[in-house]
Amino acid sequence: MAESTTRTPTARPWTPSGTAPGRLAWPVAVVAGVALAVLVLPVAALVVRAPWADLPELLARESVLQALVLSFSTATVATAACLVLGVPLAALLARAANWPTLPRRVLRAAVTVPLVLPPVVGGIALLLLLGRRGPIGRVLEEWFGVTVPFTTGAVVLAQVFVALPFLVFAVEGALRSADRRTELAAATLGASRWQVFRFVTLPLVAPGIAAGAVLSFTRALGEFGATITFAGSLPGVTRTLPIASYLAMQSDPDEAIALALLLLAVSVIVLLGLRDRWLPGVRA
């Protein structure tokens, strides 16, 4: 996506304007096919095995609607929080390319850890920090009477914890591939640092931000481990779609599949719907 923003303004005839048609070597094509199957077949099975006839009744259940509303609203708030927090962090990370090795690596690792950490571990970490015996949780409870775990806010926090790196890396990638000279050009035209960021950098990385927001939203929507560990599972308060689906699997597999299908549908709709608007060349 970012190439479109950095393309030199002159329309040179040799500038690639799309993916060059080429033929893959057959082993590559075969393995790619297998890889695609690994990704698609489980989802296809979900669709095939879905109890289609009972679906309207299953999806109309109070518990399902409650989980859907909760998931959608928490993921939306979490995505907004990721945007507010993540774009500046991405800017810092992109700028850190000039830092000495050690602090640069530490910063990068700090952002990467939630990506590679099992979400349940993230949930435990959040609980140890913000739980009533945690260093911050204790202060919050004693001074303000605020408790975080087992609240809807905890769901959002867990989602932000796992989704933020997706946004940061997407935006950082866009920042790094954006032509820094446009920022210099803006400065020579009288733009202050803030104006450069607001009027040049931010719009230039908008596709990256949009992609990051979509990834964050879908990741937040699918968040399970950190949520159930840190926020618990109470219908209407903390029981999101994935948790509801997991619990339903214990007693009512059909409802579990219906919930999973719902989650899948929402994710696919969001991915398909938002991506295209930001694809390169749409504005041209």
Binding site: L41, G131, R132, F150, A231, G232, T238, Q250, S251
Partner: protein
């Protein structure tokens, strides 16, 4: 105890082959599926070995509440049967049952309640389950009982942080029954997916009180305190165990079940706080 007859085994095997065929027909990931299925089929077609003669693996799916007891028992079983390797997988009974019905390669299933075992039996996969242990609920609080919880009535206090098992899992169903029997409307802050998740939240001090099995209180005795509640004895969870009809090594699986239901099993389970029939 009767073992899986060959008829059932062959049905199961053809089911496995059919799945491979489907995968091939779809034409994808054939290698992966094929390998796994071949391994399973190869094991079951080999002449039934005696457990002590040839190396065998017994895969056991067991309810989370059995963790400590089964860890101990598996060790002792392996000491007695050096050629048998016991692989244990713990989880919520409902989830485990679902995985078995979906074709997980399991030899023995030990459930924390009868309904999950029933769903496995309904699928024709469990062979004559027997109840080998019982469990009852206990009120549990963090060590020191910081909130001063005294009885079931406290679970209705909205100001306290309460964790219960979700009604879809055995400990949740039992909790519901116990609370109904005591006429208490609980005000839970979270309904967890398995009893160990509830216990963890109590040991971390994140909740003030919860209902778990007596055996769980014993398993976490350093971090939690149990409070016996009147009427708990009348809400009994019965734990059935069965060797599965498509066990890779039926004899070894039966040996393990016999070991659990025998004297060794009864002793260890009783020590862990289970009731033994």
């Amino acid at each position: 105890m009767p073992h899986a007859d060959t008829g059932v085994v062959s049905i199961v095997r053809s089911r496995g082959r059919a799945r491979v065929a489907v995968a091939l027909a779809i034409g994808v990931a054939a290698t992966l599926t094929g390998c796994a299925a071949d391994g399973g089929a190869g094991a079951s077609t080999s002449p039934t070995p005696h457990a002590d003669a040839a190396p065998a693996t017994v895969t056991v799916f067991a309810a989370a509440s059995l963790t400590e007891a089964f860890d101990t028992l598996a060790e002792r079983f392996q000491a007695e049967h050096p050629n048998v390797d016991v692989v244990l997988n713990y989880g919520g009974s409902g989830t485990l049952a679902q995985q078995i019905v979906e074709g997980a390669p399991v030899d023995v299933f030990a459930s924390a309640a009868e309904p999950p075992m029933q769903s496995v039996a309904d699928a024709g996969l469990a062979d004559a389950p027997v109840v080998f242990a019982t469990n009852t609920l206990e009120l549990v609080v963090p060590a020191g009982n910081p909130a001063g919880v005294t009885g079931l009535d406290d679970l209705a206090d909205a100001d306290l942080r309460i964790a219960l098992c979700d009604a879809s899992v055995p400990c949740g169903a039992a909790s519901e029954k116990l609370l109904a029997q005591a006429g208490v409307t609980a005000a839970p802050d979270t309904l967890e997916s398995d009893v160990r998740a509830v216990l963890t939240k109590v040991s971390l001090g994140e909740v003030d009180a919860a209902l778990v099995y007596r055996t769980d209180v014993q398993a976490a005795v350093d971090a939690v305190e149990g409070i016996e509640v009147p009427g708990a004895a009348s809400v009994v969870n019965r734990y059935p165990i069965a060797a599965l009809t498509d066990a890779a090594d039926a004899a070894a699986a039966a040996d393990f079940v016999a070991f659990i239901t025998g004297d060794a099993g009864r002793t260890v389970l009783a020590d862990a706080g289970f009731g033994v029939p």
